[in-house]
């Protein structure tokens, strides 16, 4: 007797928990005739809840020491390594060859470790002591932007997600990510990895669903400080830029099509979501005996 197949329901990830979408809706992406799973079709309210979670996680995550954030990112890579078989299997299920799938998982792990290493180093690169003509010690130091909306790349599942999210959280930002619409399996499984590593709940929130439905809210929400768009759709880019104006969102439009290229391993991706703060600190004297500091 043939048995009835059980299709896994992949849930979304908000504030360290795995709720179903509040809307109760789902969709079933397919690879050919093969259904991949039941995937939540997130609503704007799921996004709203995710922003609340991301905002409340921001203080603690951005306040953690850089060294600690580095350890946490490294831990994600370790946990991913431990579950590599599941990821390879899912990537194959989504239509890739075995060798491609292995390459994707390996590169993803390496890329997480790459950004883990930058956590306590980017600030030295991007900060400066500035020469000024008054008796001030003038310095510029980077701070994380805040809550970031992310459209993860559509062309791939795991590697695109990792490459877009890791540089954002490396500096202490928190984010709400809309996973790839047609290949969302790895994104949800990645959320399970995040949940079992040391990433505090709310730092990365993962939604699944349609760009067309969520774009408006992800770009206009006043409590979101920045938007990372990965893709090339002119209409989407224009809409995001227009909607983001109300609170002057920092909007980054990136082409993630050559995902294995080393251009995606760069501290400038971290800099994309940093705000530079310049401090004028009065000093007693700058004289013949040297400066006051």
């Amino acid at each position: 007797m043939s048995r009835l197949e059980i299709l896994k329901t992949y849930k979304i990830y908000i504030g360290g928990k795995f709720p179903r979408t509040e809307s109760g809706r789902f969709y079933t992406p397919k690879n050919g005739d093969k259904a991949l799973g039941n995937i939540c079709l997130s609503s704007r309210k799921d996004f709203r809840n995710a922003v609340v979670a991301a905002r409340s996680a921001f203080g603690k995550w951005s306040g953690a020491t850089a060294y600690n954030r580095s350890q946490v990112l490294y831990r994600i890579a370790e946990m991913l390594e431990g579950r590599r078989a599941q990821f390879v299997e899912e990537i194959i299920l989504q239509g890739s060859k075995k060798a491609e799938a292995e390459k994707e998982v390996n590169t993803s792990i390496d890329r997480i470790i790459y950004y883990a290493g930058w956590c306590d180093k980017y600030s030295q690169i991007f900060s400066a002591v500035n020469p000024v003509a008054t008796s001030h010690f003038n310095f510029t130091a980077p701070e994380p932007t805040g809550v970031v909306s992310v459209f993860a790349p559509e062309e791939n599942s795991l590697i695109g997600l990792v490459s877009s999210v890791m540089p954002i959280i490396a500096s202490g930002n928190t984010c709400v990510v809309l996973a790839c619409e047609n290949m969302p399996l790895c994104a949800v499984t990645f959320a399970e990895v995040l949940n079992s590593s040391d990433v505090p709940g709310g730092v990365i929130n993962l939604l699944t669903g349609k760009r067309s439905e969520l774009l408006e809210h992800m770009a206009s929400h006043m409590d979101v400080n920045a938007f990372l768009y990965t893709g090339t759709d002119k209409k989407e880019m224009e809409a995001i830029q227009k909607l983001g104006v109300a609170n002057l969102k920092r909007i980054q439009l990136k082409d993630f099509s050559k995902i294995y290229s080393s251009e995606h391993e760069t501290p400038y991706y971290i800099e994309d979501f940093l705000e530079m703060k310049t401090t004028w600190h009065p000093i007693e004297k700058i004289g013949a005996t040297g400066s006051g500091y």
Partner: protein, 303 residues
């Protein structure tokens, strides 16, 4: 102990059906209000707020700031209703009165050794007089929970009656501090005592004890108000206070009031929220309803 006051036996207050209460609340919270009704509810809730600051660290300036917030909730959005009152400690009533002059917003003051209520009647009356003399239109008193637990209901009754007399024309809200009463039966009994003794409002909590206001405990008190109204024809107001910080919850309270007491209670004369952060959440929701854009706390004054 069977205490009888003016023909009213406090120990015979009706017993509360806890399962029924929780079931009723579960049905209320499963509903949602949309569009025009939501907008109307949000504006109504805003108009029912007693904007409150009851901190040890309060200063005249802090109170002035709060009064300013009460009068300028969000000036960039015109035609907003104002809050109902500003609630402060007695020594700040004078400051609040001056700031709110001509605004139509009342000044409410806690009194009677708030929040514990542990002091002599003499001190409590003096406390009340200070607030009333300074011009407070509303007095929020606490009941003696210790005496209540001892079963000395006459003491509790007499105290409320005495304070009511000291209030003169100011309206009296009686805080039961339900978080310290323990059971719904006791909440019901305390509500009955307060209303019999002349309370104009019954109020759940001081905000200093957790749990503060909850929907179930509010329903128990609303039922007490309903029974008292049927019995005497006297309308008594309700004020849940503490822990009500988001709009969704505020709307659920309004639903509960509407469906328990009817629309006569849906004005700030008979229903209030004791809250401070609720106002901003309501404002954010009102603007979200209007513009379709989710709002951020960053763009609303703190107080």
């Amino acid at each position: 102990m069977n205490k009888i006051k003016q023909g009213f036996d406090f120990s015979s207050s009706p017993k509360v059906d806890q399962v029924g209460i929780n079931d009723r609340i579960a049905r209320i919270t499963a509903r949602s209000i949309k569009k025009e009704s939501k907008m109307q509810g949000l504006r109504m809730a805003l108009n029912m707020i007693d904007l409150t600051t009851l901190e040890g660290a309060d200063t005249d300036k802090k109170v002035m700031q709060l009064c300013n917030k009460a009068q300028h909730l969000h000036d960039s959005y015109p035609n907003l209703p104002s809050v109902a009152a500003v609630c402060v400690y007695p020594n700040f009533v004078k400051t609040a009165k001056e700031c709110l002059k001509g605004s139509g917003i009342n000044v409410a003051s806690v009194a009677t050794a708030f929040p514990s209520g542990h002091s002599s009647l003499k001190i409590k009356l003096l406390d009340t007089n200070i607030a009333v003399d300074a011009g407070a239109e509303e007095i929020d008193m606490v009941i003696s929970r210790g005496k209540f637990h001892e079963g000395d209901y006459n003491f509790v009754y007499d105290e409320i009656a005495a304070i009511k007399e000291a209030c003169g024309s100011s309206r009296l809200k009686v805080i039961l501090e339900t978080g310290e009463l323990g059971t719904f039966d006791k909440v019901r009994r305390a509500s009955d005592i307060a209303m019999e003794a002349g309370a104009d409002f019954i109020k759940t909590s001081t905000g200093k004890i957790s749990p503060a206001a909850t929907l179930p405990v509010t329903l128990v008190m609303l039922e007490a108000i309903k029974d008292y109204y049927y019995k005497t024809g006297v309308q008594v107001g309700m004020k849940p206070a503490g822990g009500i910080s988001n709009s969704k919850l505020a709307l659920q309270y309004l639903m509960l009031v509407k469906e328990t007491l009817g629309k006569d209670w849906l004005t700030n004369e008979w229903f209030r929220f004791g809250a401070s952060s609720l106002a901003n959440d309501l404002l954010m929701q009102i603007i979200k309803q209007d513009t379709g854009i989710y709002q951020s706390k960053d763009y609303f004054s703190k107080d």
